[in-house]
């Protein structure tokens, strides 16, 4: 599926029938939560925190067109690869929608940034950004994606795109797909017994034998500690 197709399926399919409807008639249509993250409230919240999350989830900030544009940008920033999905596959647009409500200081730069972008493409191609062809979209993005090289009159766009890049990367790498992509393999019960030998070799480092001799013997970790009177461990 190409970028355009996957976005289409995202917006009419899995992400949110609710968002589509809601974008058309925000006043009458209560938002429908369909993304899986929104259903997981069990992460050790106090009643006040739970209430705050629920309140934010019941609100909708971006309209359908804005969300479409955000999704296009997310997937320009992180398209799908052979092994790992795109930013939208990782649920980044929904994450940005939540963050805009959770950190309202993001609202204006994002909404205004989308309008700025539409203004650019309307001037150049007489189309909103999300309706432009890939080439047309990239023609604008290429001018604002490289801080330090942006023409002076497009600095507002650079600022917006940098924010989008930050939110996209952070949303992606804190998702299940992104963590696999990164190779983070912790957050699970295990036994730390030092740096793997091949890594030590690669870095030309070695453990000081005297230091290591005093470290925990993981074979004996379940033996209850006992000491002599001088504080020497006996077990």
């Amino acid at each position: 599926m190409d970028r355009r197709e996957s976005l289409k399926s995202l917006l009419v399919g899995s992400v949110a029938g609710g968002l589509v409807l809601n974008g058309c008639a925000p006043a009458e249509q209560p938002p429908q939560e369909t993304d899986s993250a929104a259903q997981s409230t069990g992460y050790g919240r106090t009643p006040e925190e739970k209430e705050r999350d629920e309140k934010l989830r019941s609100q909708q900030y971006f309209n359908h067109e804005e969300l479409t544009t955000l999704a296009v940008l997310c997937d320009i920033i992180l398209p799908a690869e052979a092994d790992f999905g795109s930013a939208t596959d990782a649920g980044v647009p929904e994450f940005i929608e939540f963050m805009a409500k959770d950190m309202p200081n993001h609202q204006l730069p994002l909404r205004g940034g989308i309008m700025w972008l539409n203004n650019q493409t309307n001037e150049r191609f007489n189309l909103d950004f999300s309706k432009c062809s890939d080439d047309q979209q990239l023609a604008v993005i290429d001018e604002i994606a490289y801080p330090g090289k942006t023409p002076e009159h497009l600095k507002h766009g650079e600022k917006f795109f940098s924010l989008m890049r930050n939110l996209t990367l952070t949303g992606y790498y804190t998702s299940e797909i992104g963590i696999k992509d990164l190779g983070y393999v912790g957050n699970q019960p295990n036994v730390w017994d030092g740096i793997p030998q091949e890594v030590l070799d690669e870095h030309n480092l070695s453990y000081d034998p005297e230091w290591i001799a005093r470290c925990v013997d993981q074979e004996k970790r379940n033996d209850i500690a006992e000491w002599d009177e001088e504080g020497n461990l006996l077990t």
Partner: protein
């Protein structure tokens, strides 16, 4: 408003359930006394799945763990922070102080760094060494037996180094260093700075059959469902209750004041129940305040009566004076040798496996008092903010800044796990003019007058922070790391953090032999009211460059034994 009186009279009422309150209530309840613990926040047990944040993934939080709701992020186990809705505090004369509070069973022990350092012999007698501040009325030899008992009861890993001011203890074996910590050891060695295994209250080895052993998730700040690290709820209060002793916990109970009778003796406490917003009172024969240094000072200052017009036990005017926090400064750096790391699970324990105790002689330096170094870094679990400005480092290390597409994936992986940092945590010199007092105009949502802080660092602390930054750069150089950001100059107080940011505030009810210059005696008993004690950080005369928890625990145990003894002698 009608005050609702509890019918039961307790032998002891302990206000607060953190390190001091937890230890006091355990020792007193185990001695057969009927103990009430009054806690301002709710019940908390990390074994309870409703409370658990440990082993959760970032995507389980819709804000991916960002720190806009909880000060240290969504998964940190502190219900509170430097700012709490409805519970303000104020600052006087444009001075700075940030006050961290945690409202829950166990208080701040649920999320703390578990750095468990004994004070050394010099730390109790600093005035003898540099002429500044005051000596404690007790010495290391008075506290050492209690440090020993705390080590064995709670468990702390570390190594016997036989240093003169970093006492040995009953240590569990430490974990092996991580990769960035090996680089740190190498850098410190080149800079002729010691580096030794850290000392944290985390169970690398079993100490009893009730608590589990560390399973290396690096998440002690989330509180441990296996009870493999120290927090006052999991290791002191809950086990004491389970073993059938008389220990009753009142939760969501915000203490307003200590109640006294016409003879000037404490008779109990009054509190506001946060759930129904009604005021209650509990009767007790002894009151122990362990609400945190500043909260206990606030309660005493708000406990005014005809006999104690200045606040309970405050004839000296010393309550709130000498509040002091540790100093803190940090710098991060990047280790090019660690670019494009092979990934593996290096979570380890919740905190550093290696640290540097104070190693220099202040006589040869332009500031008094020392600091220790904490090292951090590694391939941690991403949360909100991960990946921000990911390619900015390319400006220095080659490659395109900014851009889009899969090159960003390469940028992120190139730098992942190569950033580390060092923090200095040092001893400040307590000042009479640094204080908290009752704000004459402001109350909190429970109608209780709030604290107003007045706090200024001196050049002692600024010079120390300057020295910390010089040390950081020496070590970075030795380990082949490139410092990030700028070294803060004089205009920024050399990067010295605002007082209160290190969350080691102590000294508000300091101990002493002279009742005109101190609040409690050497057993942490009010000079003026012999059935009121303070077992949090308030009685500290000086803070050392050590984290205060281990000393709070040892002193609380010592005070508890004193209370038991005095009761036997019918002195209280």
């Amino acid at each position: 408003m009608q005050i609702i009186e509890s019918p039961e009279t307790f032998d002891v009422i302990v206000v607060g359930s953190g390190a001091g309150g937890g230890m006091t209530s355990k020792i007193l309840a185990e001695s057969g006394l009927n103990v009430a613990v009054v806690e301002a926040g709710p019940m908390f047990d990390p074994k309870n799945d409703e409370h658990r944040t440990q082993l959760r993934w970032p995507w389980e939080s819709p804000r991916r763990g960002a720190s806009n709701v909880r000060a240290f992020g969504d998964f940190d186990s502190a219900y509170g922070g430097w700012e709490i809705d409805g519970e303000p505090y104020t600052r006087k004369d444009n001075t700075e102080f940030d006050w961290f509070r945690s409202r829950m069973l166990g208080g701040r022990t649920n999320h703390w760094g578990r750095i468990s350092l004994r004070f050394g012999p010099k730390d109790f007698k600093r005035k003898d060494i540099d002429g500044l501040g005051d000596n404690w009325p007790i010495g290391y030899e008075d506290v050492a037996p209690y440090y020993d008992k705390v080590d064995k009861l709670i468990g702390v890993f570390g190594t016997k180094e036989n240093f003169d001011n970093e006492p040995n203890g009953y240590f569990l074996p430490p974990p092996k260093p991580r990769l960035h910590e090996l680089y740190f050891i190498q850098g410190a060695k080149k800079a002729k700075i010691p580096a030794i295994p850290s000392r944290l209250s985390i169970l690398t080895k079993r100490i009893n059959n009730e608590r589990g052993v560390c399973f290396y998730c690096r998440q002690c700040s989330r509180a441990c469902m296996a009870y493999a690290d120290f927090s006052a709820g999991t290791c002191l209060i809950l086990p004491t209750q389970r073993s059938g002793h008389s220990l009753k916990v009142f939760t969501n109970a915000m203490v307003r004041e200590v109640l006294t009778n016409d003879q000037g003796r404490a008779t109990g406490v009054s509190y506001i129940n946060r759930e129904d917003r009604k005021e209650y009172s509990i009767k007790g024969k002894i009151v122990v305040l362990a609400a945190s240094a500043c909260s206990s000072a606030r309660i005493l200052l708000n406990s005014k009566s005809s006999l104690f017009s200045n606040g309970l036990g405050n004839g000296s005017g010393m309550i709130g004076r000498y509040v002091h926090d540790s100093t803190g400064a940090s710098r991060s750096a990047i280790v090019p040798a660690m670019f494009n790391r092979k990934t593996y699970n290096e979570d380890g324990v919740g905190g550093m496996h290696v640290y540097t105790p104070w190693w220099l002689d202040n006589k040869k330096l332009d500031f008094p008092r020392g600091y220790h170094l904490e090292v951090w870094g590694g391939m941690g679990m991403p949360s909100y903010g991960f990946g921000f400005n990911a390619s900015d480092l390319n400006e220095k290390f080659g490659g395109t800044v900014g851009g889009y597409g899969s090159k960003l994936r390469e940028d992120v992986k190139k730098y992942y796990g190569s950033v580390m940092g060092i923090s200095g945590r040092g001893e400040s010199v307590p000042q009479y003019d640094n204080y908290c007092e009752i704000d004459p105009e402001v109350v909190d949502e429970y109608g209780i007058p709030v604290l107003r802080f007045h706090y200024k660092w001196t050049d002692y602390e600024r010079q120390q922070a300057k020295h910390m930054h010089e040390t950081f750069e020496q070590i970075f150089e030795g380990m082949g790391a490139e410092p990030l950001g700028d070294k803060p100059g004089k205009d920024k107080d050399y990067g010295l953090l605002a007082p209160g940011r290190i969350i080691h505030e102590v000294g508000t009810t300091r101990m002493g032999d002279d009742a005109s210059k101190s609040v409690v005696n050497k057993f942490q008993q009010l000079h003026e009211v012999n059935n009121v004690f303070v077992t949090d950080g308030g009685p500290f005369v000086s803070q050392a460059d050590k984290n205060p928890t281990w000393t709070i625990l040892a002193l609380a145990w010592r005070t508890s034994e004193y209370i038991i003894d005095e009761l036997k002698k019918q002195n209280i």
